[in-house]
């Protein structure tokens, strides 16, 4: 079953190449169906191998493919364990749904085949990332998803903002990658290999806590880039310039969770470095809070979802930070479904509104788009943490685990609750502003339900959004058992008693309900409330982080570069070179002054030089 797993990477890659080279000839919509087919087949290939873990017959395997960089002993190899199986399911599963959705969504785009080529490339890259059996190959996937993300964000490159957003995403990610690379260096120097199996098996004996802390913190820098954690979160909102299916697949469900996945994958190392874990948890919490505070004021429907994604990623990072890897991955899973659904729903709305993204110009869409309305409603409840929707379970697990850690983590738990409140608030705001109330759009827009290729994914995702949380409840920890072998060697967090879990869950639920109850009446009105307070304005501008970076990093950096280009090179270095040249010529000119053309002078020089020569001869030769 696992013999064919390399096809999970190869098929989407093949699809990408075919669409890239021959897409124009294949044309629309076949190129889209082709791309969908490749991803779907990948999914189908992975299903039996994944089910074997569920049934308990599967076992963790490393599948050697070929020797990649022999100089540092890196092999192209696949690690097939429950964690990678789960990620494969999410990526290819949700991926194929979004491909299907895109067939309708991208209709009429002049670079239709190109879009699917990039999408397939993304799936292939993401599969490299999750299937990697060592850090080096993981880094390959890591970077390639960055590339796909760049290509897809700036897909509509004629829009300057889209092009800039793609560039920004890649560059900010690269800052994180720098951390990842340095981590790789330390890993290699400490272990002599990148192989997960070896690294994790020998870590407790081979490295000190200090080394582990360094490695994990640097890995987290990488994770912060990819998963949009503070202070590298700035690229994700801009990434919404890409087509909406891209936002759903890459910037909500899969790629952005790579950081969380990577931390979970490195659980053994993080276990060794409690300080790093605490820092991760704090950063995650801070990110969750800040993003939520920004999300409440956004008027662009995709921007709300983008900040909400950052906020939810913060939760996940908090989860893995406190050592609740299963909970983190669980939230990753549920979030993948409901956030993909939210984005696709938003895309459906945007599609229907003729590319209008401002929620203030929507409203009352429930009648025009019933399927979208219902499915998005499920996602709204899920993300708000309403029982028994999926988000409720996974979010609570994280909060419970944080609480269980005790000490200062109680504070983080408190902040987490606040974020839950805010989440419920802004999601309700979004839902209400979009679907309820009176229509606020102008007459020439004719909202309509989207075609079947778009609604089928919505329904499928809707089903999972409702149900997927049930795979891991305090009553039935199926998910945890499934992942057990991936987190071998990681200390289990002491489970809370059912009673205390129930109390915590109830508190969270109450908070969520409060959030909904606060927002619902506020926005379900004919007249939208004015949001022009100082806080709202700052929040709308994302608290000016971009501007701060511009002032403190970009501008001085550019100035330094310009100084080097305009002063250092031409004036200092070339100046020195020219100076030497001028010095030599100057010397020549000075000598030239002796060239008077006067015989008297020449004869004098001749005589003096001759005299000196005689004296030197006599002095030098005096001894013999």
């Amino acid at each position: 079953m696992t013999d064919l797993l390399w096809l999970v990477v190869a098929l989407p890659l093949l699809g990408a190449v075919i669409n890239l080279l021959f897409g124009k000839r294949i044309g629309e919509p076949i190129s889209g169906w082709l791309a969908f087919g490749f991803v779907a087949i990948s999914w189908a290939i992975a299903v039996p191998a994944t089910l074997s873990f569920v049934t308990g017959s599967g076992h963790t395997e490393t599948i050697y493919l070929f020797s990649w960089i022999p100089a540092i002993g890196v092999d192209a190899a696949i690690l097939w364990d429950p964690l990678s199986a789960l990620m494969t399911m999410i990526v290819t599963g949700i991926g194929s749904l979004i491909h299907l959705y895109s067939i309708g969504y991208m209709r009429g785009d002049e670079r239709y085949p190109r879009f699917f080529a990039f999408m397939n490339l993304f799936i292939a890259s993401m599969m490299i990332l999750v299937l990697a059996a060592n850090y080096a190959v993981m880094f390959v996937g890591w970077e390639l998803v960055g590339l796909s993300s760049y290509l897809l964000i700036s897909f509509w490159f004629t829009k300057p903002s889209a092009a800039a957003a793609g560039k920004k995403a890649f560059i900010v990610n690269r800052i994180g990658d720098w951390g990842f690379i340095v981590a790789l260096m330390i890993i290699f120097i400490s272990f002599g290999t990148f192989d997960f199996h070896t690294v994790f098996a020998s870590a407790p004996t081979a490295i000190t806590v200090g080394t582990a802390t360094a490695i994990t913190l640097l890995l987290f820098v990488g994770a912060a880039g990819k998963s949009a954690q503070l202070p590298l979160h700035i690229w994700l909102p801009d990434a919404m310039e890409g087509p909406t299916p891209v936002s759903a697949l890459i910037h909500a469900a899969t790629m952005v969770t790579a950081g969380v996945f990577m931390i979970a994958r490195s659980a053994v190392l993080f276990e060794m470095a409690p300080v790093a874990g605490a820092i991760v948890a704090v950063v995650g919490t801070a990110t969750a809070l800040l993003a939520a505070l920004i999300a409440i004021s956004q008027t662009d429907i995709k921007k709300v979802l983008a900040y909400s994604t950052i906020s939810q990623l913060g939760y996940m990072v908090l989860g893995v930070g406190v050592g609740a890897y299963t909970a983190g991955i669980f939230h990753l899973t549920t979030h993948a479904f409901f956030k993909a659904l939210l984005f696709l729903g938003a895309g459906s709305v945007i599609h229907a509104m003729a590319d209008e993204q401002d929620m203030r110009k929507m409203g009352g869409l429930r009648k025009n788009m019933p399927i979208t309305f219902i499915t998005m409603g499920a996602a709204w409840l899920a993300i708000s943490g309403i029982f028994p929707f999926s988000g409720f379970w996974s979010k609570d697990e994280i909060l419970a685990a944080t609480f269980a850690k005790g000490g200062g983590f109680i504070l983080l738990w408190g902040v987490g609750l606040l974020v839950a409140l805010l989440t419920a608030f802004y999601m309700t705001r979004l839902f209400v502003m979009t679907f309820l109330g009176k229509p606020r759009w102008s007459g020439d827009v004719q909202p309509h339900e989207s075609p079947a290729t778009m609604t089928i994914p919505l329904v499928v995702l809707g089903f999972f959004t409702v149900s997927v949380g049930l795979i891991n409840t305090p009553v039935r920890l199926a998910f945890e058992h499934f992942l057990e072998s991936s987190f071998e060697g990681v200390a289990h967090i002491e489970a809370l008693t059912f009673g205390s879990f129930s109390i915590l869950a109830t508190v969270a639920l109450v908070v969520a309900v409060v959030g909904i109850a606060w927002a619902w009446p506020k926005y379900n009105t004919d007249e939208l409330p004015a949001e022009d307070g100082k806080f709202w304005q700052r929040s709308l501008l994302a608290f000016g982080v971009d501007e701060i970076y511009g002032r403190t990093i970009v501008a001085p950096g550019k100035k330094a570069s310009e100084w080097a280009a305009d002063s250092m090179d031409p004036k200092v270095i070339d100046g020195a070179a020219h100076g030497i040249g001028r010095g030599i010529s100057g010397f020549g000119s000075v000598l030239g002054k002796m060239q008077t053309g006067q015989v008297r002078g020449y004869a004098g020089v001749l005589a003096v030089a001759g005299a000196i020569l005689i004296i030197v001869f006599v002095v030098v030769g005096g001894g013999f």
Binding site: W68, A71, I72, E143, L144, S154, F157, I189, K558
Partner: protein, 526 residues
């Protein structure tokens, strides 16, 4: 069969054939010159094919005494390091010649110079007699000088002279050092002078002599590479050079410097190499950051790529002076990769320059709309240059970084920031040139790349991907040669090449067994 001599002579024969073409048959020049650049490639591939992988010694050796009284001989051989430089050279020349279709002014002279240049470059990489090596090292200046000064753009006189003078200053020290080395070797052998590289290996120096000779060689190669702060000739030369000149300059000429470091500085003067490794690595790292930072703000796309070369070459120097197997092998791979990626970028710039006659970034915008294929290939090359995994640049840079971290951790961490800066300058340039709306009306209606142009770029693209995905054949040939350099350093000095922790033997992994089986399978196939 003296295949290496044949390889060196073939381009010269080509130059003579092209030179003898009748004056009025100008239409013959391009096809014949192109045809004449193929046999050297075939010869190089022959060498590549029959090269014995895993063998560290020099292969295909030839040795003819030329001037006995001055200890000069025609000694040629390849090892894993020079092998790929030779193949790269033999590959880039046909490509550059093919890309010179638009040269109509004195085309014959141009082609003759290109072919002579090829002979010179091949001679540099193949000669093991230092006198002959120096002759080839220096002669390369003339055709390149003429190519820039005859077919360059506005400021060509300044740029070409700057190119020659900067490099020649280095050559002056190189020549003096070679003379001294030859005399010392002769003394050791009991002859008057001797320039045979292999005889030099047994020479013992006083530490000051060794240091002085090392510095003499190092200055020459540092300027050629070019290492900060000797780099200012490069942007000027690149900007003014015709397309093929830029391709060759970046693709192979700069490699003469890094190759020289590997072949001569590390091998002949191990103690000095160990002593001066850190200062040189520092210069390399400064080059990485500085080159990249300056590249960001360049208004001229060719200058931008030129500065990116400074940055990339810094990586190679860092890898070289890390003095680890990984660092050195990575350097060789990056040398190859830089030749391919930067070559592709310069070709691409040349192709659009032929259409628009401007290299100013500000004159462009939205080009991807007009020339989608062109934009795609450019972006591919840019990412390859920025070290995207899966493409050749990554293999080199990554191996260097891992290898260099072992001996120079702090420097390597700083060097790692090069990956950020590379993304900034390349993507920002791409953004300004290719994206957004078409603002310059001159760009409208430009023709996208034609078949010939894509065919010129195709071999580079294939190799960039090929080496990126499966670099093992390269490493198999490079590593043994690199290891004997390090073995020699270890034998001659107190220095110990740092080893990575090897914990794999602590852990019982069943997949190791599986791997051996697959390796075994590979072996049977091969």
């Amino acid at each position: 069969m003296p295949v290496l001599s044949i390889l060196i002579v073939l381009p010269l024969v080509g130059a003579i054939v092209v030179g003898l073409l009748p004056r009025h048959r100008t239409e013959l020049v391009y096809p014949i010159a192109l045809a004449m650049s193929i046999p050297p490639l075939a010869a190089a591939l022959h060498i590549l094919w029959y090269f014995n992988a895993g063998d560290a010694s020099f292969q295909f050796g030839e040795h003819i005494v030329l001037v006995e009284s001055f200890g000069i001989s025609w000694t040629l051989a390849v090892d894993g390091i020079s092998l790929f430089m030779v193949v790269l050279t033999a590959l880039l020349f046909p490509i550059s010649i093919a890309a010179s279709h638009s040269i109509t002014d004195r085309a014959k002279t141009y082609m003759v110079l290109m072919l002579i240049l090829e002979t010179g470059v091949l001679g540099v990489f193949l000669s093991l007699d230092l006198f002959v090596f120096f002759a080839f090292f220096e002669i390369v200046l003339i055709p390149m000088y003429l190519l820039i000064s005859m077919w360059g753009s506005e400021n060509r006189a300044y740029a070409s002279l700057k190119f020659v003078l900067f490099t020649a200053v280095g050559s002056a020290f190189l020549l003096a050092s070679i003379v001294a080395l030859g005399v010392l070797t002769g003394e050791q052998l009991g002859t008057l002078v001797n320039f045979d590289f292999r005889n030099m290996l047994s020479v013992e120096f006083s530490s000051t002599t060794e240091l002085a000779l090392f510095v003499g060689f190092a200055i020459a190669f540092a300027i050629k590479i070019p290492l900060f702060p000797f780099h200012t000739w490069l942007p000027d030369a690149h900007t003014e050079a015709p397309t093929a000149g830029s391709v060759i300059l970046a693709g192979v000429l700069l490699k003469m410097g890094t190759y020289g470091f590997l072949r001569f500085n590390l091998t002949l003067f191990p103690q000095a190499a160990v002593d001066l490794a850190i200062p040189l690595a520092i210069l390399g790292v400064i080059g990485i950051v500085y080159g990249a930072a300056v590249a960001i703000v360049q208004p001229d796309i060719k200058r931008l790529i030129a500065y990116s070369s400074v940055s990339h070459m810094g990586f190679i120097v860092l890898g070289t002076f890390a003095l680890t197997t990984q660092g050195l092998s990575g350097s060789v791979v990056l040398m190859i990769s830089h030749g391919l990626t930067t070559g592709a970028l310069f070709l691409l710039i040349g192709m659009v320059y032929e259409r628009t006659h401007t290299r100013k970034i500000a004159d462009y915008g939205g080009l991807a709309k007009v020339m989608p294929v062109y934009a795609g290939i450019f972006l591919f090359s840019a990412f390859a240059s920025a070290g995207l995994p899966g493409l050749s640049g990554f293999i080199g840079e990554f191996t260097i970084l891992i290898g260099a971290y072992l001996s120079l951790p702090v420097l390597t961490i700083i060097a790692g920031s090069g990956v950020i800066l590379a993304a900034i300058y390349l993507l920002w340039a791409y953004e300004r040139v290719f994206t957004g709306p078409v603002t310059n009306s001159k760009l409208e209606g430009l023709k996208d790349l034609g078949f010939r142009e894509v065919a010129i770029l195709a071999p580079l693209i294939v190799l960039i991907i090929g080496i990126g995905v499966y670099p093992k054949p390269v490493f198999d040939r490079v590593e043994p040669s690199v290891e004997i350099i390090l073995d020699r350093i270890e034998a001659e000095t107190e220095f110990e090449v740092p080893e990575f922790a090897r914990v794999s033997d602590l852990v019982d992994i069943d997949y190791e067994a599986e791997r051996e089986v697959s390796d075994h399978d590979d072996g049977e196939e091969g």
